[in-house]
Amino acid sequence: MKPAPFRYERPETVDETVGLLAEHGDDAKVLAGGQSLVPLLNMRMARPAVLIDINHVFNLDNITDDGGGSRVGALVRQSAAHGVSPLVDCCLPYVGHFATRNRGTVGGSIAHADASAELPLALLVAGGSVVAASTRGRREIPADEFFVTHFTTRLEPDELVVEIRWPDTGPGVAFEELAQRRGDYALCMAAAFVRDGELRVGIGSVVDRPTLLEIDPERPGASAAEQVEPYGGLHASADYLRHLVEVLVDRAIAAAGRNAA
């Protein structure tokens, strides 16, 4: 479990970083908290030629108020993200463990786009967005466009996530998850947002990306379950996971309603 050889870069500014990305593109990987990337390197499942360590980049770890919502710099550690959004607060206890949250970053989790990660689902249901920078400038990508499939986003090879935008959701949100152990990747998770008759529900882990679902208010969980084709796997069958979608969506909507009241 030692990584294959790579070149190590340690830029100190965003400009320097995007310059390196422009130079190396797909051959480079950005190292933030390293809680996913370092194991992948050690298992040689990721073999970048260049590793760009952004932990020393200035001004990437700010949290700024954004009219009730928050703008969260890409290097903000998960453990420092309490309070940036009610949905973040709901989901953080499910994100890894104390130790991993002290290193892992909000931006890194979103850029990594693991289908089983909590923060991407939270961002999607919150209606947030991702700000990406490159030598060509900056652009904002809405979360419902950002996540493409497993470990794949709309980011171009030369782009760096610099900020995550969490809009004001109000308190009517909830996050439900079933994992086999505390801190594990979930078997299934569901998040709900309720405000002024508006309902937004998403699920994760069971399909290739965090996914918003159309909800029939008469039979919310069942209508959600009908829209997913889970992958069965080592730990659980597709039937079980579809059933969990129904249970967790019902629970999330009920909890979001309680929190809104």
Binding site: M1, P3, P5, M43, R44, R181, Y240
Partner: protein, 791 residues
């Protein structure tokens, strides 16, 4: 023998003595300061090359070509050892069953499990070694893997019958028949294997540092494979361990493999196993299929038991296997008075990682079937499971109790321990709560397990794999002995050296307590060395850290050595004080005769500096070695009866669970365990062992199972998919103790490190079956599996 009830670990039963007190571990400060010395910290020889091991990608395949030439071109690669060279340079590992397929430390022609070593690459550092692994070209011709035990090659098949089982079954009012699978699981210590091997061509010998845990029978096995006389294999263990729980017994295979690499390349070689290698290629617990039939009288008396056991030991029968199959042989009836027992024991090979030691070692595999069967019988008989247990437990007045298969239960009061567990768990109230929960359509269950925990294994039990006639042709094997040495330096400093290779349990603390009592000093005055060196330590073939033997024979050897030294000190002091030796009392670091005293330091100085002044017949110096051997552990008799262990603790557990009907998730609301492990040498350490054994038992009960796909590829190859419970996953635990001293150990102590690993899977299975109202449950009881049971 009266049971002494303890209410809390802080209450010492022997206030005037150090043994029995809950003193904190002396080991902890060094560990907390980062001063622990683990295998990977050791650099005992300079300029060692770093090894990485090429492992088979396939579960069963002919290796048609293995070409390391590209790896050897790498400038920082020092050399490669291939499986073919391993076979040419070594012999198959000896094992206790004749005629099985030969097993070497690496495969040459056919790989038989995914993860089997095929070659060793040695380089300047581990990074390069792993780079070079990718340069070794291997061509495989896939062969059909055997993954199901029923299709595996049977390498041992013996049937044992005691009493009159047929008669018992013909009289039965109720016969319960069930099949059980105990999942393959593993120990998962924090620290994986590590070896530094240094071959001496001049001496024709190998010195190896390895985080080996014993039993040192396996030192002989390794020496046999290397073709070395015992003294030419010097094995040294590091002072600290990142845990073992059995699995590091199997490091011996890599002592041989790396030893051969060192021999071929002419340089010392070091290897530290990584987690992926560990999960794929170290060892696992034996997976067991059991068919049970149990015969009951109308009043619930257990009349007879029939077992049909199939133990899957993986790709090779590897020493000390098939020990898992026989470790519990003296305890086939568990804690029950049953006299008629038959057991057919088959051992089969499959294309999975070979099995090895794992906490509980045969106990979890026995008690899941036995305790589930008792729970099912209770339901069918209309009895509360606690009442059925009570009617069958061996009585307090029956000790020492000889079981039909030859086990000799030393002491106990099983019913008192059961009563304590029922009280501590508020069992009656919980049953009422269950009625209310059921009325609300909630799935609420209560499970019991009452188990006997054998400790201090008889070195001869494994020979039951042979028939009495076969056994008669070789030297009988029996007993379980341990050695210890105590030295008092010229300034009165006390150093103890033990052969118990502790793996984090706190042996040093307990040894210091034992010596403090014998020599009249404080435990803090006693240094304890835990590193074992086969060239300089006092050890025996039974030495090491397994079968929960420390408190019985390990501390026993220290006790005996300290007594010998105390006798010598009294004799010297008696002359100085002008009294008889028996009038001398050792306390407060002095030897006393009435009001007069002489310091230990002065006595030590006399023995070292002034031997002329010693009493007649007393040797100079102050160093004593003693060996303690547990009694009553004879070899198996002609009727295949064996006292498989020296001491037998008892555990009564009550698990209370609720199952989420919607998700299948099991929540353990409360878990109570009451132990009788004889005299408790240090109650603080005892509770540490209970909690650890509990966590280890929760693993296969609720989380852990090694899985392969249909081609034999490992699916649970990392901690992402192999689910060891972590601290927040462990339910609350209530611990109670009784103390019924063992008459068969030096200090009255029994082992207790494995009991909960034996009891917890059974108790949780019983509780979940009770909650769901069904008979058949399969471990681990993960949410998806429980949900399936609900459909």
């Amino acid at each position: 023998m009266a049971a002494v009830k303890l209410t809390s670990v802080n209450v010492a039963t022997h206030q005037e003595m150090w043994v029995g007190r809950a003193i904190p571990r002396f080991e902890d400060e060094a560990l907390l300061r980062g001063e622990g010395r683990f295998m990977d910290d050791l650099a005992p020889v300079p300029h060692a090359g770093h090894a990485a091991i090429l492992r088979s990608q396939l579960a069963h395949a002919r290796v048609t070509r293995l070409d390391a030439s590209r790896a050897l071109e790498h400038p920082d690669v020092l050399g490669v050892l291939t499986g073919a060279e391993v076979v040419a340079m070594s012999r198959p590992f000896p094992v206790g069953v004749e005629g099985v397929r030969p097993y070497y430390s690496a495969a040459a022609e056919v790989a038989r499990y995914a993860g089997e070593p095929l070659a060793v690459v040695v380089a300047r550092d581990r990074y390069v070694a792993e780079d070079a692994l990718e340069l070794v070209e291997v061509d495989y011709e896939p062969l059909e893997p055997v993954l199901e035990p029923q299709h595996g090659e049977v390498v041992s098949d013996r049937t044992f019958s005691y009493g009159d089982p047929d008669g018992a079954f013909s009289q039965a009012a109720l016969i319960v028949r069930e099949r059980f699978t105990f999942p393959r699981w593993t120990c998962a210590p924090l620290e994986c294997y590590g070896v530094v091997a240094d071959w001496s061509h001049a001496g024709g010998s190998l010195t190896a540092w390895a985080n080996f845990q014993g039993p040192f029978t396996l030192h002989s096995v390794a020496a046999g494979a290397l073709g070395l006389p015992g003294a030419k294999l010097r094995l040294i263990t590091p002072p600290d361990s990142g845990g073992s729980f059995g699995i590091k017994a199997t490091v011996y295979v890599y002592v041989v493999l790396l030893g051969l690499a060192s021999r071929k390349l002419g340089l010392p070689v070091r290897w530290t196993e990584d987690r992926l290698e560990h999960l794929a290629g170290s060892a696992t617990a034996t997976a067991r299929e059991t068919e049970v039939e149990a015969a009951f009288a109308p009043d619930g008396e257990l009349l007879g038991l029939r077992y049909d056991i199939v133990d899957d030991v993986g790709a090779y029968l590897r020493a000390p296997e098939p020990a898992t199959t026989y470790r519990m042989h003296g305890s086939l009836g568990g804690a029950y008075r049953v006299r008629n027992v038959v057991s057919r024991n088959r051992v089969v090979l499959t294309n999975r990682c070979p099995s090895g030691l794992n906490r509980g070692f045969g106990g979890p595999q026995l008690y899941l079937p036995l305790e589930r069967t008792m729970a099912i019988a209770a339901k069918r008989l209309g009895l509360d499971p606690a009442e059925l247990a009570r009617r069958n437990l061996v009585g307090a007045d029956e000790f020492p109790y000889r079981t039909p298969s030859g086990g000799l239960y030393d002491s106990g009061d099983y019913e008192a321990a059961l009563d304590e567990a029922l009280e501590l768990s508020r069992y009656a109230e919980r049953r009422e709560e269950q009625q209310r929960a059921r009325a609300e359509d909630r799935l609420f269950g209560i499970g019991l397990a009452v188990v006997v925990e054998p400790s201090i294994s008889n070195m001869g039990y494994i020979t039951l794999a042979q028939t009495a006639e076969e056994r008669a042709q070789s030297l009988p094997k029996s007993g379980n002995a341990e050695g210890a040495t105590i030295l008092i330096t010229p300034l009165g400093g006390i150093t103890v050296r033990v052969g118990t290779t502790p793996q984090g349990q706190g042996h040093a603390t307990v040894c210091a307590q034992v010596v403090a009592d014998a020599l009249g000093v404080r435990p803090a005055d006693v240094e304890v060395l835990t590193s074992l060196d086969t060239s300089t330590s006092a050890w025996t073939v039974a030495s090491g850290n397994y079968s929960s033997r420390f408190s019985g024979v390990g501390a026993g050897a220290v006790h005996l050595a300290a007594q010998k030294l105390a006798a010598k000190l009294r004799t010297i002091a008696a002359q100085e004080l002008g009294v008889e030796p028996h009038e001398v009392e050792l306390r407060e670091s002095k030897a006393w005769a009435g009001e007069e005293a002489i310091s230990l330091r002065r006595l030590a100085g006399l023995a070292h500096w002034n031997p002329d002044a010693l009493p007649p017949g007393i040797e100079a110096g102050l160093m004593e070695t003693a060996f303690y051997s547990a009694p009553n552990l004879g070899p198996p008799d002609e009727e295949d009866r064996v006292a498989s262990s020296a001491a037998h603790g008892f555990i009564a557990d009550v698990a209370v669970v609720e199952v989420d009907r919607e998700t299948g998730a099991v929540t353990v609301l409360d878990y109570t365990t009451v132990h009788d492990a004889g005299r408790l040498l240090n109650p603080l350490l005892v509770d540490g062992q209970v909690r650890g054994g509990f966590a280890h038992g929760i693993g296969p009960a609720l989380f852990e199972r090694i899985e392969h796909d249909e081609d034999g590829n490992l699916l649970t190859g990392s901690f992402m998919d192999y689910l060891c419970p972590t601290a927040p996953d462990l339910p609350p635990l209530r611990i109670g103790h009784l103390e019924t001293p063992s008459p068969f150990t030096a200090l009255g102590a029994k082992g207790l490190g494995e009991g909960n690993t034996m009891s917890v899977p059974a108790a949780i299975a019983n509780a979940v079956a009770d909650a769901l109202g069904i008979d058949h449950v399969e471990l681990p009881l993960t949410p998806p599996r429980v949900w399936d049971l609900l459909q």
